[in-house]
C-alpha cells in the first residue's frame, strides 16, 4: 500500500512549531499514528490523555483501532494532537469563577457529570453549561482583578464517587487553599453590593430571557465540537428546574449553588415577583447571610460525626429533662414580665389628644396599663391581648422615634394602638414582646432574646444606612438593604425605607436555621407563578408572528408576545410523541386528543428546545427508578435527536 504524508500539529510543542509530518499508509490505525508521532517528538511524558482532533471534520479520533481509511482521513487532513482534558474557566451560580480541567472530548453531559463530581454536586443531570453573555465581557476588562479559584491541580479521578473526608471530597482536604475553595462552594456568598447588582445584565423582557436560552451547549456533543477552546469561560447553571431528592445532609454544595442561582434570578429580575415577595426574599437573604457567618459550616461534618452529634444532642436533651428540678420549673413557670412607662395613642378615637403616658405591664401575651406604677397592683385601665394582632414598626433613628403600631383584632374589627418607646433598648424589648405575643408566644419563649437581637441589628442597619450611603462593606451588622432587593427597588425606596419592610418580613423567618432558611428561599422561589419557565421565541406553523414558547418542568405554554398572556398550555403527560425535522429545523409535537403543534425556533437552535423537552421527560422518569445510577443512555435517547451517539 502506498505511503503518504500525514501532518499533525502537536500542541505541546508550542503554537509556532510546524506540524510534524508522518509517513503513513491508509490501513494504519489511529493508535499506530499516535505511536509514531510520540516517537518522533522524542518527548518523554505521559501521553495517555492525548488524542487526535480532526479540525476539518470537527471530530476526535478516539477509536484507536480504526484505520485512517475507516475514518476517511487523507493527506489533506489537518490533525491536532492534544490532551482531552484542558483547563476551563467555569462561572458558578454564585458568581465566582473556577478554573478546572474539563473533558473536551466527551459529550457535554458527561463533562458536566465530571465537573459536578469534582465539586460534589449530586444530580448533575439538572445542570448544564451555558455560554456567558458577551456584554459581560466588556465590563470584565475592568475588574480583571477578579479572583479565580484554581482547581486544575485536582487529579482527574475517574472514581465514580469521591470519598468524603470531613464531609467534603478528599481532594478538597489536601491543602488550606483547597479547603478555601470548598468553603466558597458550600457557603453562601455575602449580599453583593448594590452597584454590583445594578451593573449586571438584566433581561428586560421575555424576549431577552429567551435569548439567554439560546446559549445552552448541546449535551450530546463535546466542548471542542462546540467551539470551546482551552481557557474559555462557561457558566455552570441549573438548567432543569426539577430538583430531585434534595437532602441537605449530602447536598451542601448543590443547595448552596441552587440558592445562589435563585437569589440572582430574583435580584436580576430574571423571574418576576411582587413587592411583598421581594421583601420576603430580602429578609431571607439577610437572615441567611447573618446565620452563615455565625455558623459557617452548614454541614461539613461527616456522617459519623453527625451520628455522634445527634447522639450527644439527644443525651443532652435527656439530661435536661431529668435534671429539670423543681426550682428550675418554678423559674419557668413564673413568667417574665416587662414593666415600664410608655406612651399610648389610639388614632381611631376622634380625639386630638396625643400620646398619654401610662405604666405598662407586659405579661404572657397581654399588655395592661395603669395610671402609674403605684397603682399597678389594682385593676388595669385596660388589658389588651395581643394574640393574633398585627405588629408594625415605625422607627426613625434620626428623629429618635420608636413607635410600635398594633392592630388588635376584636369582635367589632381591628383596633389601632400605637405605643411609643423612649429609646432603642426599650423599643427592642417591647417590640420583641409584641412580636412573640402576636404569634401566641409569651416572653418566656426562648426566641425572645434572639428577637431582641434581630431588632437591634436592624436598628443598627438603619443607622449606618442613614450615615453612609450604602457603600459600607457588607459585614454583619450593616448590610445595605439595597443589596437584598432588585434594582427596581433601589429607585423606588431609600435603603432606610426598605429596612422596616424587610424587617417586617423578617419576623416570620428569623427563627429558621441556615438550612431551613435556604430551603425556604428555594421554596418561595418555586412557588412563584413563573418559576421553572425557560423561554424560547418560536414561530408556530401557520402563524405569521413570533410567539414565545415557555418550557416548564411539566408543561409547555404558548405566550402571546404582544399581550404577554398565556394563550395555551400543553402538559407533557398528554404528549404522545415529538419529532424534529432537522432539515427545516422544525419541531412537531403530538398530544392526546389529536392535538398537533409544530413550530420553528427563532432564538435558539431547535436542538436546544428538543433537549429541553426530552430532558424534562427524562427528569420525570427519575422518580420511578430509585437507583442512584444515572441512565445516561436514556438521556441521550430522549435528547439527542438524530445526532445521538
Amino acid at each position: 500500500m502506498a505511503a503518504w504524508d500525514l501532518s499533525v500539529t502537536v500542541e505541546d510543542l508550542g503554537p509556532d512549531t510546524p506540524p510534524v509530518s508522518l509517513s503513513v499508509t491508509s490501513d494504519l490505525h489511529v493508535g499506530g499514528v499516535i505511536l509514531k508521532l510520540v516517537e518522533k517528538t522524542q518527548i518523554k511524558r505521559d501521553w495517555s490523555d492525548h488524542a487526535l482532533w480532526w479540525e476539518q471534520k470537527q471530530c476526535w479520533l478516539l477509536r484507536t483501532a480504526w484505520s485512517l481509511e475507516k475514518y476517511g482521513i487523507h493527506a489533506d487532513a489537518r490533525l491536532h494532537f492534544m490532551p482531552q482534558h484542558k483547563p476551563l474557566k467555569l462561572g458558578l451560580p454564585n458568581g465566582i469563577t473556577l478554573r478546572l480541567h474539563a473533558c473536551y472530548s466527551s459529550p457535554v453531559f458527561q463533562t458536566v457529570m465530571h465537573i459536578c463530581r469534582m465539586l460534589n454536586i449530586r444530580h448533575p443531570e439538572e445542570l448544564s453549561l451555558l455560554r456567558p453573555i458577551e456584554e459581560k465581557k466588556k465590563k470584565k476588562d475592568k475588574d480583571s482583578t477578579e479572583e479565580i479559584y484554581d482547581l486544575t491541580e485536582v487529579p482527574l479521578s475517574s472514581a465514580s464517587r469521591p470519598c468524603l473526608y470531613n464531609g467534603m471530597p478528599a481532594h478538597f482536604a489536601d491543602s488550606p487553599q483547597m479547603e478555601a475553595v470548598y468553603k466558597m462552594l458550600s457557603v453562601t456568598q455575602p449580599p453583593p453590593a448594590p452597584e454590583v447588582i445594578a451593573k449586571q445584565y438584566r433581561p428586560a423582557s421575555v424576549v431577552d430571557k429567551a435569548h439567554i436560552n439560546g446559549r445552552w451547549l448541546d449535551s450530546s456533543r463535546c466542548l471542542m465540537q462546540q467551539g470551546i477552546q482551552e481557557n474559555d469561560r462557561l457558566w455552570l447553571r441549573f438548567k432543569y428546574f426539577t430538583f430531585y431528592d434534595i437532602e441537605p445532609k449530602y447536598d451542601v454544595v448543590r443547595l448552596t449553588q441552587l440558592y445562589e442561582q435563585a437569589r440572582w434570578a430574583i435580584l436580576l429580575e430574571d423571574i418576576d415577583c411582587t413587592e411583598e415577595e421581594m421583601m420576603l426574599f430580602g429578609a431571607l437573604q439577610y437572615h441567611i447571610s447573618k446565620v452563615s457567618q455565625s455558623e459557617p459550616q452548614m454541614l461539613s461534618s461527616s456522617a459519623a460525626m453527625d451520628d455522634l452529634e445527634s447522639a450527644l444532642q439527644s443525651l443532652e436533651v435527656k439530661m435536661e429533662g431529668e435534671s429539670s428540678s423543681a426550682s428550675e420549673m418554678l423559674e419557668n413557670m413564673t413568667a417574665p414580665e416587662l414593666n415600664d412607662y410608655l406612651k399610648i395613642f389610639r388614632p381611631k378615637r376622634l380625639t386630638l389628644k396625643g400620646y398619654k403616658q401610662y405604666w405598662f405591664k407586659f405579661q404572657d401575651t397581654s399588655i395592661s396599663y395603669f395610671k402609674s406604677k403605684e397603682e399597678s397592683i389594682g385593676e388595669p385601665i385596660q388589658q389588651i391581648n395581643l394574640k393574633g394582632c398585627e405588629v408594625a414598626p415605625d422607627v426613625n433613628m434620626a428623629a429618635q422615634k420608636f413607635l410600635i403600631r398594633l392592630l388588635i383584632p376584636a369582635p367589632e374589627g381591628m383596633n389601632e394602638v400605637y405605643l411609643r418607646c423612649e429609646n432603642e433598648q426599650q423599643y427592642a424589648q417591647w417590640m420583641a414582646g409584641c412580636r412573640l405575643a402576636s404569634k401566641g408566644k409569651s416572653l418566656a419563649d426562648n426566641s425572645y432574646q434572639s428577637e431582641i437581637q434581630s431588632i437591634h441589628s436592624f436598628l443598627a442597619m438603619q443607622k449606618t444606612n442613614s450615615s453612609s450611603h450604602g457603600n459600607a462593606p457588607a459585614n454583619d451588622e450593616s448590610i445595605n438593604t439595597h443589596s437584598l432587593v432588585s434594582p427596581r427597588y433601589h429607585k423606588k425606596y431609600k435603603a432606610k425605607q426598605l429596612t422596616p419592610r424587610i424587617l417586617d418580613a423578617y419576623q416570620n423567618v428569623a427563627q429558621l436555621s441556615l438550612t431551613d432558611a435556604v430551603m425556604r428561599f428555594i421554596q418561595v422561589w418555586q412557588a412563584l407563578p413563573d418559576f421553572g419557565l425557560s423561554y424560547i421565541v418560536v414561530r408556530f406553523k401557520g402563524s405569521r408572528k413570533d410567539e414565545v414558547l415557555g418550557i416548564a418542568p411539566n408543561r409547555l405554554i404558548r405566550i402571546d408576545l404582544g399581550v404577554g398572556d398565556v394563550v395555551k398550555t400543553w402538559r407533557y403527560n398528554n404528549m404522545k410523541q415529538w419529532n424534529v425535522n432537522w432539515d427545516i429545523r422544525q419541531m412537531a409535537i403530538e398530544f392526546e386528543g389529536n392535538v398537533n403543534i409544530a413550530f420553528s425556533c427563532v432564538t435558539a437552535d431547535c436542538k436546544i428546545v428538543h433537549e429541553f423537552i426530552g430532558g424534562y421527560i427524562f427528569m420525570s422518569t427519575r422518580s420511578r427508578e430509585k437507583s442512584d445510577v444515572l441512565n445516561e443512555e436514556l438521556f441521550h435517547k430522549l435528547t439527542g435527536g438524530h445526532e445521538a451517539l
Partner: protein, 661 residues
C-alpha cells in the same frame, strides 16, 4: 353555679367509693407516660357554667357523666399522688402523677376538694397506680423503707407535680354543642389541645355515620351570614374562643363535598382553564400526577387563579370590579392602567391573619351582584367591620376555585395531610361497614363484637338492647354509680396508673360484661399512633358521656348505615384502622408477653370483635385516646391473625418494629 358545686361535692363523695373499687387494672408497662400526662381535672368552669345554661336536659346528663369521668380521673390522680407522697418512687419525678402540691391549687379549685376525700379512702388502691405509672414492674408496695432519704426528693417532686398540675390546669376546655344534619345536637367537651380531626373521630363514633372524607365541622356566623369548614388540623377551642358571649354562632357536623374536592378532582382546580369536557374525561393517572406535582414537591403549588371579582369597598355599599390574582404569598390585584406583570401587582391581602368564609345570601344582605360570595377576615372579628373583605364571584365554580385556592395557599401541605388522614379513616370504616353489613341490625350495635362479622355475636355482646338512640343520651347513670356496679374485676392487680381506673368507671355503665372489661385490661395505649395527636386524651372524656349510648342501643340511625354499605372500597382488613392499627398491633404484640393479663384476655380476644371505633370507645373511654382503638386491635390481632392478608401482616410487622423502639 351553686347547684353544680353541690353536685360536684356529691360526686366527690361517691368517687371515693369508686376509687376503691377501681384501683386495679392490669396494664402493660408501655404506654404509661402518655396516659399520665393527661390530667383532665381542670376544666374551664366559667365557660362550663355558661354553656351549661344553654344545654338541654339530656345534654346535661351526658355532660355530667363526662364530668364525673373527669373527676374520677382526677381523683385517681390525686390518690395516686398522695400515695406517691408516702412512697416515693424514683420514677415519679419524671411523671406528673406523683404528689400533688397542696399549696398550689388555685387554678383548679375542684381538684382540691376532691383530693382530700379521695385520698383518704382511695389511698389503698392508688398506690399501685402511682407506681405503675412510671414503672412497669412496680409492685404495689415499693420502697417504704427509704423514706427518709427520699423525703427531700419527695418534697421536690411535690413541688414539681404541683407545677405540672398548674400547667395542666391551664388547659382550657369548652363544652361544645354540635348540630347534626337531622337537626339534633350533640354536646361534647373539647380540650384545647384537641384538633378538629380528633373531634370528628369522636363524632364518628357517636353517630355511626359513614366516615367519609366529606364530614366536616363547620362554623357559622349568622350575624355576618358566614360559614366555613374548620380544617382538620386546626385546634377547635381557639376559634371558638373568639366567639362573643352572646354569639349565635354554631358548630355544625356536615358533609361538605368542597372540603377535599381538590384532591378528588385536582384537574378542576389546577387545569380550570381547560374546557370542561376535557376535564371530565381525565384519567386517574393524570389526577395523581397533578397531586404529585402540586402537593408532593419541595414546594406546594397554588392554583394559578386570576380573574375579575367584585369587591365590596371598605365601609361602602357599592361593589367594584377588580382583576385579582392568587399567589402563594397572598391575593393581589392589578391597579387600573397597569399591566398584569408581577411587579405591578398590588397586594390585597396576605393570609397569615385571616380565614376564608363562604358568604350566604349576600345579594340580599349587601346587594352583592351574585350570591357567590366569600369573605376574608380575622377570626376574631365577629361583627361587621371595615376590616372584613367581601368578594363576589360570578358563579359557584369560581367561588369554589378561589376559596379552595386560598386554603391551599394558607394551609399548604397540611391540607393534603389532612386529606390523607381522612381518607384512611374513611377506608377503614367502609371496610368494616361492609363486613358487618350482612345483618343490618348489628351495625349500629357495638359491632365491637367479635371479629366475626357475624351479627349474632355482636348482639351477644351487647345483649342489653338499649332503646336509647345515640342522640338521646339518657344516661341514667350518674357519675358514680354505674362504675361501681359494673366495675369489673379489680383483681388484675398490676397496678396501673391513673388513667386506667377511670376507664373502668366509665365502662361500668356498660352492661356488657366481660368483653368490655377485657379491653380495658389491655395494655395501655402505645404512643405510637401518629394519627392521633396528643396523647392527652380529651377524646375519651367526650366519649364517655355519649359513648355508652352507642354501644348499647341498637342502631337507630339506619340511614347512616345504609350509606355505608353502599360504600365501595372495602379494604380487605377492616380491622386495620389507620389510626388504631398502630396501637392495636402494638399492644397485641408487645402486650402479651410482659403483662399479666392472663385469664380474661384470651377468651376475650376470640370473642372480641373488630369493630374498632365504636366498641373501644365505649369500653375504655376514660383512657386516653389510645384505648379505644387498642382494644379492638388487640382482639384483631388474635383473631385476625389467621386471616391476615399481606397488608395486615405488614402492618403488624411495622408495629412491632415501632414497638421495639
Amino acid at each position: 353555679m351553686e347547684d353544680i358545686d353541690a353536685m360536684f361535692s356529691d360526686l366527690l363523695g361517691e368517687m371515693d367509693l369508686l376509687t376503691q373499687s377501681l384501683g386495679q387494672e392490669t396494664v402493660p408497662p408501655e404506654a404509661l407516660p402518655p396516659t399520665n400526662q393527661e390530667v383532665n381535672y381542670s376544666i374551664g368552669f366559667t365557660d362550663l357554667n355558661e354553656s351549661l345554661h344553654e344545654l338541654e336536659d339530656n345534654d346535661l346528663d351526658a355532660l355530667m357523666a363526662d364530668l364525673v369521668a373527669d373527676l374520677n380521673a382526677t381523683e385517681e390522680k390525686l390518690a395516686a399522688e398522695i400515695k406517691g407522697l408516702k412512697t416515693p418512687s424514683p420514677t415519679t419525678s419524671d411523671l406528673p402523677p406523683p404528689p400533688k402540691g397542696l399549696s398550689l391549687h388555685p387554678p383548679s379549685p375542684h381538684p382540691l376538694p376532691a383530693s382530700p376525700a379521695s385520698s383518704t379512702s382511695s389511698s389503698v388502691s392508688t398506690p399501685a397506680s402511682s407506681a405503675a405509672s412510671s414503672l412497669p414492674p412496680p409492685p404495689p408496695q415499693n420502697a417504704k423503707p427509704t423514706k427518709e432519704e427520699i423525703e427531700a426528693q419527695m418534697k421536690a417532686d411535690k413541688i414539681k407535680l404541683a407545677l405540672e398540675k398548674l400547667k395542666e390546669a391551664k388547659v382550657k376546655k369548652l363544652v361544645v354543642k354540635v348540630l347534626m344534619n337531622d337537626g339534633s345536637s350533640k354536646t361534647l367537651m373539647v380540650d384545647e389541645r384537641q384538633n378538629v380531626r380528633e373531634v370528628l373521630d369522636n363524632l364518628f363514633e357517636k353517630t355511626h355515620c359513614d366516615c367519609n372524607v366529606d364530614w366536616s365541622l363547620c362554623e357559622t356566623n349568622p350575624e355576618l351570614q358566614l360559614d366555613r369548614t374548620f380544617e382538620d388540623h386546626e385546634n377547635l377551642v381557639e376559634p371558638l374562643s373568639a366567639w362573643m358571649r352572646d354569639s349565635e354562632n354554631q358548630v355544625l357536623f356536615q358533609e361538605r363535598g368542597e372540603k377535599y374536592e381538590v384532591f378528588k378532582n385536582p384537574q378542576n382546580f389546577y387545569l380550570w382553564k381547560k374546557d370542561k369536557r376535557a376535564l371530565k374525561d381525565i384519567k386517574d393517572k393524570d389526577k395523581e400526577i397533578l397531586i404529585q406535582e402540586n402537593f408532593c414537591g419541595t414546594s406546594i403549588i397554588v392554583p394559578d387563579l386570576e380573574g375579575v371579582l367584585h369587591l365590596k369597598e371598605d365601609g361602602k355599599k357599592s361593589w367594584k370590579q377588580r382583576l385579582f390574582q392568587l399567589r402563594a404569598s397572598g391575593i393581589y390585584y392589578v391597579p387600573k392602567g397597569k399591566t398584569k406583570s408581577s411587579r405591578d401587582l398590588v397586594c390585597f391581602l396576605q393570609f397569615d391573619n385571616v380565614n376564608v368564609y363562604y358568604g350566604k345570601d349576600f345579594k340580599t344582605k349587601y346587594k352583592a351582584p351574585t350570591d357567590f360570595c366569600f369573605v376574608l377576615k380575622h377570626p376574631q372579628i365577629q361583627k361587621e367591620s371595615q376590616y372584613i373583605k367581601y368578594l363576589c364571584c360570578d358563579d359557584a365554580r369560581t367561588m369554589n376555585l378561589w376559596v379552595t385556592g386560598i386554603r391551599i395557599a394558607k394551609y399548604g401541605v397540611s391540607l393534603y395531610e389532612n386529606y390523607k388522614t381522612a381518607e384512611k379513616k374513611a377506608a377503614v370504616n367502609s371496610v368494616w361497614m361492609n363486613r358487618s353489613t350482612p345483618s343490618s341490625s348489628n351495625p349500629s350495635t357495638p359491632s365491637p363484637t367479635i371479629k366475626a362479622k357475624t351479627p349474632n355475636q355482636a348482639n351477644g355482646h351487647a345483649p342489653k338492647p338499649q332503646p336509647t338512640a345515640p342522640d338521646s343520651m339518657d344516661f341514667g347513670n350518674f357519675p358514680p354509680p354505674p362504675s361501681a356496679d359494673i366495675l369489673p374485676p379489680p383483681p388484675p392487680d398490676p397496678a396501673f396508673p391513673p388513667p386506667p381506673p377511670s376507664l373502668p368507671a366509665k365502662s361500668s355503665s356498660r352492661p356488657v360484661a366481660p368483653q368490655h372489661k377485657l379491653p380495658a385490661n389491655f395494655p395501655p395505649p402505645p404512643m405510637a399512633m401518629d394519627n392521633l395527636p396528643p396523647p392527652p386524651l380529651p377524646p375519651p372524656i367526650d366519649d364517655s358521656p355519649e359513648a355508652p349510648p352507642d354501644f348499647l342501643p341498637p342502631p337507630p340511625p339506619a340511614a347512616g348505615f345504609g350509606m355505608d354499605q353502599s360504600l365501595p372500597p372495602p379494604p380487605p382488613d377492616p380491622e386495620f384502622l389507620p389510626p388504631p392499627p398502630p396501637e392495636p398491633v402494638f399492644t397485641g404484640a408487645g402486650a402479651p408477653p410482659p403483662p399479666p393479663p392472663p385469664p380474661p384476655p384470651p377468651p376475650a380476644q376470640a370473642a372480641a370483635v373488630p369493630r374498632a371505633p365504636v366498641r373501644p370507645s365505649g369500653s375504655v373511654r376514660k383512657v386516653p385516646p389510645a384505648p379505644p382503638k387498642r382494644t379492638t386491635p388487640s382482639l384483631q390481632v388474635g383473631g385476625g391473625g389467621g386471616g391476615g392478608d399481606f397488608m395486615s401482616e405488614l402492618m403488624v410487622a411495622m408495629q412491632k418494629k415501632r414497638g421495639d423502639h
